[in-house]
């Protein structure tokens, strides 16, 4: 009996923990466990979740993409300028950031797979470059409808209603970004669990040499993972622009650490001990619930950081004490 209880606690420990946190906050504040607040929380994590999906994918092939935050920033301002400066139709507004994200991913892939610079080093360099590019592109200005241009004229376009709906609208009472997020989580989960390419990524991350000797085109697989990571970060940036209705400089800078935190908490979900999409999603949920609930309790924002850190430690400690014991 006891023997079976322990692994169970470990496996579902992280989920139980999220449940307990929810129960705790619900008792504390009647407004917490309401449909409106739950969808608020989900909407608040939707952007970070997209970025975190990208990070999860790069970590799956055993790479670490530090450039996602910068990619979010670039994608946000590019999206906004497509409308504000160039008055492009919605399709272009949506496709261009995808292309931008893919390009950043290709640059990472080139440096890591071809030049063979270790992943952390290469993506750090790309982070600087992309950060610089996004500010150079707008000359450091944030982008908003009919903004005054540095040359004294006024920008012709505004952020279109349709576009803003993506980040702010609702479908059947559910915020649209939440729907997008859930679709993305499910799609990527299915991708990893049920498709050939997903499996190839997982196996490549498990042991690149063994995967290569099993006939996988590991370079292609890894390059694809970085491109996917860039594209998901870019979607995050697009949602960002749509949610706030403007293109803010440096919008993505805080996203890197936040998404990494979500992914790492995700290591603990189902005691996986490695990156997994469902875990990442619940990691983001936990972080969102904590921020929302602690704010309701009027905990100072700086204490929120401590709580976040402690939660991260607890989640990781439970998982890794368990994993290491099993391995020993």
């Amino acid at each position: 009996m006891k023997k079976h209880l322990l692994p169970f606690t470990f496996k579902y420990g992280a989920l139980i923990f999220i449940g307990l946190v929810l129960v705790f906050f619900s008792f504390w504040n009647e407004h917490f466990f309401t449909y409106a607040n739950m969808t608020d929380i989900l909407r608040s994590i939707s952007i970070v979740t997209f970025v975190a999906i990208g990070v999860t994918i790069s970590l799956t092939v055993d790479g670490f993409d530090l450039s996602v935050g910068a990619t979010v920033s670039l994608s946000t301002v590019v999206t906004a300028t497509m409308m504000v400066w160039y008055e492009m139709p919605l399709v272009v507004v949506i496709l261009v950031p995808f292309a931008v994200g893919a390009l950043v991913g290709l640059l990472n892939a080139f440096l890591i797979v071809k030049i063979r610079i270790p992943d952390l080093l290469a993506t750090l360099a790309v982070m600087y470059i992309v950060n610089g590019i996004h500010k150079t592109y707008t000359k450091g200005y944030s982008i908003y409808g009919n903004m005054p241009m540095p040359d004294g004229s006024t920008a012709p376009g505004v952020m279109s209603k349709d576009f803003l709906w993506i980040g702010q609208g609702k479908l059947l009472g559910v915020p649209f970004p939440v729907i997008l997020m859930l679709l993305a989580v499910i799609a990527v989960h299915v991708f990893f669990k049920y498709t050939r390419w997903g499996r190839q990524m997982i196996m490549t991350g498990g042991n690149e040499e063994a995967a290569r000797l099993s006939g996988l085109k590991v370079k292609k697989v890894r390059a694809l993972a970085y491109v996917a990571s860039g594209v998901f970060a870019a979607i995050g940036g697009l949602l960002f622009a749509s949610r706030i209705g403007s293109g803010q400089i440096d919008a993505g800078a805080p996203m890197l650490m936040e998404s990494v935190a979500a992914v790492f908490v995700g290591y603990s979900v189902f005691a996986a001990g490695r990156p997994n999409i469902i875990g990442t999603f619940f990691g983001a949920v936990l972080m969102g619930v904590l921020v929302n609930g602690l704010t309701m309790m009027n905990v100072q924002y700086y204490n929120t950081d401590i709580v976040k850190g402690v939660v991260l430690v607890l989640a990781l400690a439970v998982t890794f004490i368990h994993l290491n014991r099993r391995r020993a």
């Binding site: 498709t195 499996r199 997982i202 196996m203 063994a210 290569r212 000797l213 006939g215 085109k217």
Partner: protein
């Protein structure tokens, strides 16, 4: 050592083993792969803790909890896995003095001059010519082995354990090592020597202990023993029993290699394998067998030559291309190259056939499981379930997974590089059975090994490789172990 037992994740590696060494003797420890020799020595040197049993040195009882405890008692060990004992980006000198640098006692300051000097003088004793300042990562495998031997010499040892030190060494280097061992013996040091090369064992040792399946089965003075007795003790049976040869119909050539060149390790290799034929490539360690198999599989680049599979020229750009041409490789380093230890048996088995069990990119879970179940049943893979991590399988079963994963591809040619390395006797004969069955299905088999006996038992044809070139070809029944050994070392001897 008395009554030592040790288990790993369900495998009982040592069962109540007694073992003793005298000062001033060379004591050979023999046994088939996986008999538990290395494990016993790791316990003696403090790298593992035993489950049961005790260790006495000069009458005093010890409880080794770490390698430094054993070292304090004067027991030093050269481990079999060379790379686990060396720090690649440090210099040779430092690697030689690693124990001293690692100890918590002693001088805080390093004197590089004297460090290099000391290293140089030890290296001179074993005829190592590289500068002691060279980084270990730039050395070849045999040089690395010499560095480890030098480290042993630099210690004040009462007992020295050498776990297969001669494996990567040339004959010349081996001779030097024996000189050193005799020197140690004369100095009153007890030397434990592990090797699979029986002739050299008989030449150099005083006493022999044989282990089988984790038990000690024999300890005698050398002069009281015959080679055949030792072999019988090691295997528990005679040769013929171990290699039951399945008869297969031999057809047209399926693999043809002409003038294959790759670096210094593969020099102008020509060979043919016919359908249903098992061709063994034998050679001493370092002859270039592994390199040959990797080049054929596209894992390493070729400099020249052509390869034809089933009459069509094969592309050698990458393993993916080789698989496409119908070649499969079961690589030598199982845990690093053959399987993914952190993944399940199921996922390992289905890895090369992902495209054939998926539609529009979606995997068929049913097809995957059925394939895995078939392999687990056919190959007799001992696993609680297909979702077990391969890390928790025993070595032989891991090897079966590494083989089984290729059986779903319709490869025409199978390359086996030392598939029985580190595999226990039962699993070994299972593997031979699988190989035989593949031949019966009309596949071409290229079997690369340094175990001549295996080649003699299994192969239809034996090619002898030496220094990267095929120097001789024997048909089944034409050769003896001696012939093979002569040709395998011929070039070297000619050069001397």
């Amino acid at each position: 050592m008395k009554g030592v037992s040790k288990s790993f994740a369900g495998v009982k590696a040592l069962k109540n083993v007694d073992f003793s060494v005298r000062g001033g003797e060379i004591h050979a420890l023999l046994g088939a792969n996986g008999a538990g020799k290395s494990t016993l020595m790791k316990i003696l040197s403090g790298a593992y803790e035993s489950d049961e049993g005790k260790i006495e040195v000069a009458g005093a009882e010890y409880d080794f909890r770490s390698p430094s405890d054993a070292k304090a008692a004067g027991i030093h060990c050269v481990y079999q896995e060379v790379d686990t004992s060396l720090v690649p980006h440090l210099s040779v000198s430092e690697n030689i003095s690693l124990d001293r640098l690692a100890s918590s006692k002693g001088k805080a300051w390093l004197k590089w001059g004297s460090l290099h000097e000391e290293a140089k003088s030890v290296l001179a004793r074993i005829g190592f010519s590289e500068s002691p300042r060279t980084l270990v990562r730039d050395l070849t495998l045999s040089e690395k082995q010499l560095v480890l031997i030098a480290r042993l010499l630099a210690q004040e040892a009462k007992f020295a354990i050498l776990d297969e030190p001669t494996a990567p060494l040339s004959l010349e280097e081996t001779e030097k090592l024996f000189g050193i061992m005799n020197g140690l013996k004369d100095a009153g040091i007890g030397v434990i020597f592990i090797s699979h090369r029986l002739p050299e064992v008989f030449r150099v040792c005083d006493r022999i202990t044989v282990m089988r399946d984790g038990e000690r089965v024999l300890t005698e003075n050398k002069i009281d023993l015959e080679v055949s007795e030792v072999v019988r003790a090691m295997l528990g049976r005679t040769f013929e029993e171990e290699f039951p040869k399945l008869e297969a119909k031999i057809g047209e050539p399926v693999l043809s290699v002409r003038g294959l060149e790759a670096g210094k390790r593969v020099k102008g290799v020509d060979l043919d394998v016919r359908r249903g034929e098992i061709v063994a490539v034998v050679g001493l360690v370092g002859a270039g067998k592994t390199e040959l198999s990797r080049v054929l599989f596209g894992a390493d680049p070729a400099d020249g030559g052509t390869v034809t599979v089933g009459g069509r020229p094969a592309r050698l750009g990458s393993p993916a291309a080789a698989v496409g041409s119908g070649i499969a490789l079961v690589p030598e380093e199982r845990r690093k190259e053959g399987i993914l230890v952190r993944h399940s048996v199921l996922h390992n088995l289905s890895l090369p056939i992902l495209s054939s069990i998926s539609k529009l990119g979606f995997l068929s879970g049913k097809a995957e499981r059925e394939f895995a179940d078939d392999q687990i049943k056919d190959l007799g893979i001992k696993t609680p379930s297909p979702s077990q991590l391969t890390a928790y399988l025993s070595g032989g079963n891991q090897q079966k997974v590494a083989i089984g994963k290729w059986l779903g591809t319709d490869a025409d040619v199978f390359l086996f590089d030392e598939p029985t390395k580190g595999v226990d006797v039962g699993a070994k004969s299972d593997i031979f059975r699988i190989i035989g069955k593949l031949a019966q299905q009309g596949k071409g088999i290229l079997y690369l090994t340094c175990e001549f006996a295996e080649a003699l038992g299994l192969a239809d044809r034996i090619l002898v490789m030496c220094d990267g070139a095929i120097v001789k070809s024997f048909n089944r029944g034409e050769a003896t172990q001696e012939d093979l050994l002569n040709y395998a070392s011929a070039v070297r001897e000619d050069l001397e």
